[in-house]
């Protein structure tokens, strides 16, 4: 059994009447890449800052590398933080920036030289040691900030929206770069972002946060295919949400009736026990929904009227409105020019009975 590199127990923080984090629990095994994902104000940065020791919690416990560290000062925590704007020391050369944590630990000069050289090679910038940080591009500064953080092999590396300041192309490149570093070096990473794509690409697990609470923790696949709440379903990827009532519960098989009167059948494990008559929301991803040509059929079929068809690029999106007013989106790979669809003409949409998820209609207090 390995000791969790990081353990959070009932960590809580309030600013006056505002609850910034309402009792969070979290565990991070060695070598894992966990992302705190959520909209701004969801408490993810507060949580990160409390782990770093830069914000003091009201109550709860933080364990780092098996040691209690709730109120330990940052310099004794054995953590590394990559800040959003990098926080490179502008008056020190790149070499001295990376050497800083080693000097603070009294590492001998020869070893400092060796270690700095090593990490500069890891981040693929071996020749910039003598330069000042501002002489480097944004992406290079980002790499140096990473190098400065991994050079002293901290228990955990915390990253606070590190790609926020980069442009899209560089961001995509750095995403893969960080993932590579994580895999090659086996470091334990806690990453904060509001960008779901970043979270999906890099994480082993995602901790979705909302309203100062942890909404759901799981692998990217888990969160995408088995969201437990409407928020989770809506935040990650695109979703069609349909109001419905439970008509019949039969083991793993559920039968629903939508507000418009259509019947939906769905199978598969459910996170919660539902009873007959419960008001629920039914979620199905647009890419699972297909436009049915006349004569074709599917497990579930709904009828509506065409609202719009948009060629986005690699995919084409079809929007249809059901009789009860619900807007449904179906995504299909673009295989040719946009088909000629007449607005308000009838359209049939279908999806397999394993594609949907049944969610509680109202957010339940955790």
């Amino acid at each position: 059994m390995t000791i969790a590199k990081l353990k959070i127990r009932q960590l809580r923080k309030t600013y006056g009447p505002v609850v910034a984090l309402a009792g969070a629990d979290l565990e991070l095994p060695e070598g894992e890449f966990l992302t705190l994902l959520g909209p701004s104000g969801s408490g993810k940065t507060t949580l990160l800052m409390m782990i770093a020791g830069l914000v003091q919690p009201d109550s709860g416990e933080v364990w780092i590398g098996g040691k209690l560290a709730t109120y330990a000062p940052p310099h004794r925590r054995d953590i590394g933080v990559v800040f959003q704007n990098y926080a490179l020391f502008p008056h020190l050369s790149v070499f001295e920036n990376i050497a800083f944590p080693l000097r603070m630990r009294g590492v001998p000069e020869a070893e400092i030289r060796r270690e700095v050289k090593r990490v500069l090679e890891i981040v693929q910038l071996p020749d910039v040691g003598e330069r000042l940080p501002r002489a480097l591009s944004g992406g290079q500064q980002q790499r140096i900030a990473l190098a400065r953080c991994i050079v002293y092999r901290p228990s955990i590396v915390l990253m606070d929206e590190p790609l926020g300041a980069l442009d899209k192309k560089l961001r995509d490149q750095m995403k893969l770069e960080i993932k590579r570093l994580h895999e090659e070096l086996g470091i334990t990473v806690l990453y904060v972002t509001h960008d779901q794509e970043e979270a999906m690409v890099m994480s082993d697990r995602i901790c979705l946060m909302n309203n100062a609470r942890i909404e759901q923790i799981g692998t990217p696949t888990d969160l995408y295919f088995r969201p437990k709440t409407v928020f989770a379903a809506d935040f990650l990827g695109e979703s069609n949400l349909i109001d419905a009532t439970l008509e019949r519960v039969d083991g793993g098989e559920l039968e629903l009736r939508t507000a418009g009167g259509a019947v939906i059948r769905t199978k598969g494990e459910s996170s919660r026990a539902f009873a007959r008559g419960d008001a629920i929301k039914f979620m199905v991803r647009p890419e699972m929904v297909s436009v049915l040509s006349s004569g074709a059929t599917a497990d579930n079929v709904v009828e509506g009227r065409v609202v719009d068809a948009i060629l986005v690029g690699g995919v084409t999106k079809y929007y249809a409105r059901l009789a009860d007013g619900t807007l449904i989106c179906a995504t299909d790979l673009t295989r040719g020019p946009l088909p000629a669809l007449v607005r308000d003409s009838p359209i049939r949409l279908g999806w397999p009975d394993t594609a949907g998820v049944v969610l509680p209609a109202r957010e339940l207090a955790a």
Partner: protein
């Protein structure tokens, strides 16, 4: 298609041709011409006078006398000594204040900075009188010490080096704080947390990261305080003894008592050369750009530094490492005593010590002026603590006296017209300097700011000599011109600062919507920066309203300004009338400053 149409088109096209280069510079011509006529020419004349004999031939007589008579060399040495100590104390005392202001939350910062700004803009004379009330033999401090039985005889705090140092440090510390603050506010607030997560204790983080980055501010503050202190005469004259005579006092004496302009010119030249040498050394070590606060802290490359700079860097590196270790050793010892624990929030003891120190410093800065208020209601005929209350007779004395009311009126009028003229000359130049790029921009800015750097006494004596020949002595217009020379740098700096935060895309938007440049200015730019403009108008006004040096020479015996009248009175006898005048002045300046501050905040809120 006709020939006439063609001609019209050609004419129209001609109108869109770029204006010739010399015409594009029009916004800075008035200010440059003004400064050439009323600053450069008079000063150059005064200085050249020092090298001329009675018949206009070149001579070194005055300079020989300057260095052969021991008293002048001694006065120069005393001046350097006083300025040096003032600088050191202002930096040591001002640094914690600036540091706390730069690192605290914004609301607290805005509230605290008023207590630095208030003394900054309160009249030097008022503040100096305050110290007479506090430090005198029968002053507040001696009174308290004796009534508590700590001392039996009154301590000699006034009319000696102690009095001068207290007065000078008090006068200059706000400047030091504000200069250092402007650099510290540009230091990324994440750097200290970053250093601590990388394993640095508070001491190491401060000395290795924060302190080196704040150093340009410290150096700039040191330079400004030192240069300004060199030209002081109010404080040593009122709080010191003849032994603390400073070089400016000798210049005044030569002009007023001996009417020896060439020799005054020679002393002025000595003062100027001293200032220039200091500037030169500063520039070699740190670069002039840090002065303007334009460069963010630590933005200069190490490769650009000269030999002196490199030496500074090397010594500095060792020093900061040692200081870091030392402060951490203290912190570790403290922790051992207090016992830091992982399961309990730590006490923020370091921050608490800082807060208390800053509180005491702010009381030192803002407190003394208030001691004047009760003294102005005394029934006695001299200044004493605690005052015998309550009488309004000193306020009545102001009204009865033939000089006070005209002096106050004159100061208000001169202040108003100075502010108007300074805005008319300075604002267009500020717009131009803030928005255009041209090769001589730095030089032009340095030229406009130079009256701020040159010791005031040189400008004053130079203007006196110049005015004597063109018949401007004792005129209001002469005062307005002189004060405008001093106010222009402030106007240009503040307007440029406002424009730096102005989003010029708004102007572009207005222009693309069809507004001509004057209409853009009138309908968009000016309404948006109005508060900033009013604030800089008020600063120009206060600069003139509080000005003594030029008034001392340029206003004649009968037509005095308020500070001149106060000075004349103080030289004769420090009476409670002065306390009454000072109280009124304090009230007035406080209102103006609060108004300007509110304006600026409103401007900031808009920007």
């Amino acid at each position: 298609m006709s020939l006439a149409g063609d001609a019209l088109a050609t004419k129209k096209a001609a109108a869109y041709r770029p204006r010739p280069a010399w015409l594009r510079f029009w916004p800075i011509y008035p200010i440059v011409l003004f400064l050439l006529a009323l600053f450069v020419y008079p000063v150059a004349q005064l200085l050249s006078l020092s090298a001329l004999g009675p018949d206009g031939q070149l001579t070194t007589t005055h300079y020989e006398r300057l260095f052969s008579v021991p008293v002048y060399v001694r006065v120069l040495w005393t001046t350097l000594e006083i300025a040096g100590w003032t600088t050191l104390l202002c930096i040591v005392g001002g640094y914690p204040v600036a540091y706390l202001l730069a690192t605290t939350v914004r609301g607290t910062r805005n509230r605290l900075i008023l207590w630095v700004l208030l003394p900054f803009w309160t009249s030097f004379l008022v503040r100096t009188f305050a110290w007479i009330v506090l430090l005198g033999r029968r002053g507040a401090i001696n009174g308290v010490l004796q009534s508590l039985g700590i001392t039996e005889a009154p301590l000699a705090l006034l009319y000696n080096m102690t009095g001068v140092m207290v007065g000078m440090v008090h006068a200059m510390m706000p400047l030091a704080v504000l200069t250092m603050l402007s650099v510290m506010e540009n230091i990324d607030r994440n750097l200290l947390p970053a250093a601590s997560t990388l394993g640095a204790r508070g001491g190491q983080a401060f000395w290795r990261i924060y302190f080196p980055l704040s150093l340009p501010g410290v150096a700039a503050a040191g330079l400004l305080v030192f240069i300004t202190s060199l030209g002081f005469f109010i404080t040593p004259a009122l709080l010191g003894s003849p032994r603390e005579t400073m070089i400016t006092q000798v210049i005044i004496q030569q002009v007023e008592e001996m009417l020896n302009y060439p020799f005054a010119g020679a002393i002025a030249m000595l003062l100027l050369v001293t200032a220039l040498v200091i500037f030169y050394l500063y520039d070699r070590a740190l670069g002039m750009s840090t002065l303007a606060g334009a460069a963010t802290a630590g933005q200069r490359g190490s490769e650009k530094r000269g030999l002196i700079g490199a030496a500074f860097g090397w010594v500095g590196g060792i020093l900061t490492a040692v200081l870091g270790k030392l402060s951490d050793a203290i912190a570790i010892a403290w922790e051992k005593v207090m016992g830091g624990r992982e399961d309990r929030p730590p006490l923020a003891s370091g921050r608490l010590v800082l807060r208390i120190a800053v509180l005491l410093l702010l009381i030192f800065l803002a407190g003394p002026s208030f001691f004047i208020i009760p003294v102005s209601f005394t029934t006695e005929g001299f200044i004493e603590w605690p005052p015998q209350l309550f009488s309004m007779k000193w306020y009545a004395a102001i009204l009865d006296h033939p000089q006070w009311i005209p002096a106050i009126t004159r100061s208000l009028v001169v202040g108003f017209f100075t502010a108007c003229l300074a805005m008319a000359l300075g604002a267009p130049a500020a717009f131009f300097l803030a928005r255009q790029r041209f090769w001589a921009k730095t030089a032009a800015l340095a030229f406009i700011l130079s009256p701020l750097i040159l010791p005031r006494i040189i400008i004053a004596v130079a203007l006196f000599y110049f005015y004597a020949r063109v018949g401007l002595i004792g005129t209001e217009i002469g005062l307005v011109f002189g004060h405008t020379v001093l106010a222009l740098p402030y106007v240009v700096i503040t307007v440029m600062a406002v424009l730096r935060h102005y989003d010029q895309r708004l102007d572009h938007a207005a222009a693309s919507l069809g507004a001509s440049p004057p209409r853009v200015l009138w309908h968009v730019t000016i309404p948006l920066i109005r508060s900033g403009l009013i604030a800089s108008f008020l600063f120009a006004f206060v600069t003139s309203f509080d000005e003594l040096t030029i008034a001392l020479f340029v206003s004649s015996g009968l037509a005095t300004t308020l500070p001149k009248q106060m000075w004349d009175d103080a030289i004769l006898k420090v009476s409670p009338t002065l306390a009454a005048v000072s109280t009124l002045l304090l009230l007035f300046v406080t209102i103006v400053i609060l108004a300007a501050e509110v304006m600026q905040r409103r401007a900031a809120a808009k920007g």
